[in-house]
Symmetry: C2
């Protein structure tokens, strides 16, 4: 039985959604959840539900990290629900951890407490995004703002391993997000990464342009965390803005109301398909453990899905797979070191 530590106090709708999500996930799955946070508050919400002995336990903490708290302040405090939840994984008392709280703090604390894998310079955030042909993985979605070519190459390897584990794929198509299909198009980091990726055993299909990302032209889209975070949020915001614009146009029509009623199930189903909460959070890749960052506005369903993904990734030991996969980048890193030594001498 896998054990998932959940930061009960994290997120805009904490602790309710975390508790409800945990409750629903233990009903369906062969997992246990440890809710970490204020015991009194947690019991208050759990009370309403039939108690599931042995499937949900509580680890009490007095303190919690605030959503808008600075990372430096957040990681200093020792008794927060987020830190205690991550420490459960470190101590081997939980197989994975997740939080919908302060994402910068969750990232920093996971790196700090669980540590980086060998051959990883920069851990990355991988998000699963919907597109016309099913979901694809985008990374880095915000962990590293200024990246070098070698970092992008590592992201490609980590994304490859994650795609294989998550979707049981054998040879996911890896692409670099850039501003033209040719390898000569891009910024300094992507142009160099393009060359390095051509020499790997990955199924590297070259550059992908922004216009093709949501048409499913690649399974894993690699970029630095600044670009990735902007693409993620532009996607989220644009989908919402477009639906609002369309609704406004429909409302202006005489036949709009009845027409809208007729297509409403389609809009509902469409919304479900582009809903982030179906994909259960973003996984931190490159650290020694399984840690998921959930959207601050996560619903109970999103938490439930995140618990499912966390348990799957823990079961498949995703971080060991990444570690294995990254062994083949040792040559690239060694090559780089040689170049660096040469340039500096």
């Amino acid at each position: 039985m896998l054990k998932i530590a959940v930061d009960a106090m994290g997120g805009d709708f904490a602790p309710e959604v975390n508790i409800l999500g945990a409750y629903e996930s233990v009903l369906d799955n062969e997992i246990e959840v440890i809710l970490v946070g204020n015991e009194e508050k947690i019991r208050e919400f759990l009370q309403e539900k039939k108690v599931l002995k042995g499937k949900i336990s509580i680890l009490h903490t007095e303190d919690q990290i605030l959503m808008d708290e600075s990372v430096s302040s957040a990681i200093r405090r020792k008794n927060t629900s987020m830190r205690k939840a991550i420490e459960l994984v470190k101590a081997g008392k939980a197989d994975a951890v997740l939080s919908a709280g302060n994402s910068g703090a969750m990232m920093a604390l996971s790196f700090l407490l669980l540590g980086k894998l060998p051959n990883v310079d920069r851990p990355a955030i991988a998000t699963v995004m919907p597109c016309l042909k099913g979901p694809f993985i985008l990374l880095d979605a915000g962990a590293n703002v200024d990246c070098k070519a070698e970092h992008l190459v590592q992201f490609a390897f980590m994304g490859d391993a994650y795609h294989k584990a998550l979707f049981n794929s054998t040879s996911p198509r890896i692409a670099l997000l850039s501003i033209g299909e040719e390898g000569s198009k891009g910024n300094e980091a992507t142009k160099e990464a393009f060359k390095l990726l051509q020499d790997t055993n990955l199924n590297f299909i070259g550059n992908i342009e922004g216009k093709d990302v949501f048409f499913g032209s690649a399974d894993v889209v690699v970029c630095d965390g600044f670009v990735g975070n902007i693409v993620l949020k532009v996607g989220e915001g644009l989908a919402e803005a477009l639906m609002k614009m369309l609704k406004r146009e429909i409302a202006d029509l005489i036949t709009g109301k009845i027409g809208y009623m007729m297509i409403k199930p389609a809009i509902k189903s469409f919304r479900k398909k582009i809903d982030y909460s179906e994909y259960g959070g973003a996984l931190l890749l490159g650290i020694k453990g399984t840690s998921l960052i959930c959207h601050g506005r996560s619903s109970a369903k999103a938490i439930k899905n995140a618990i499912r993904v966390a348990s799957e990734m823990a079961k498949k030991e995703i971080y060991r797979r990444i570690s294995e996969s990254l062994k083949s980048t040792e040559d690239i890193n060694e090559g780089k070191d040689t170049v660096n030594r040469f340039l500096c001498s």
Copy 2:
């Protein structure tokens, strides 16, 4: 009467759409168009229309730049329609130039032949994009992939002047595209640009996140050309992908067909609002002249709108306004030089 030089041979649907767009624009406006390209082909298409004496003239060229030609090859050739069209502006025989051809070549040739304005290190591409509250300006949309903070500051000043000229605004809200609202969030370049922009006389409202861009939270969104080009193309691709996904859901419904018929005018009006061709191309800012890059897939309507925008910007002498506006950045640049000298000594 303003004269606009049009590269008749540029774009996926050249020369038809360019000639048709030119024809329609001289019907409505107080402008003349010089069509630059293969005279025989141009006459063939113009023949079908009533000849507009004195409103459309032709400058014959034998050669033309191909859509997928490398920029270095394209700029070497001396008798291409694109180069000759730009040379008309340089020689004072036209007030503005536009092309739907190879955008890299159009950018490079415009910079090369017309020259940069004083106080501009890097000319930028400014695009007008639709959003929930009307259009906003995004720059740089692809001219400069690796940018420093000072370049972003120059883009802000150029975007400010362009917004004022295009929309007759008095104090457009200028924002930096980043991954968090606080000035401490972002990459090295945006974090430094944030500080520099606070000390300017611009209406700088701080950072804007990807999710807010299409909600109209800013009038001018500033970023480097790598990020800008990706945002531009993600927006274009995502809007198309979402509409396809929604249509597919509607088609799956029993009531979908009739419901769709009822809301069809709304979808049409919505499409018109998010259609790039309404906004008439991207203006090159920071050069001594008025040069517009149109989308390769431009329709006749897009060319007509671009001709209108080009004539407006030429009339308002946008490049002189930018030059005026950039005088106030001299302090920043001088400050920078001092720092550089200090660091290098």
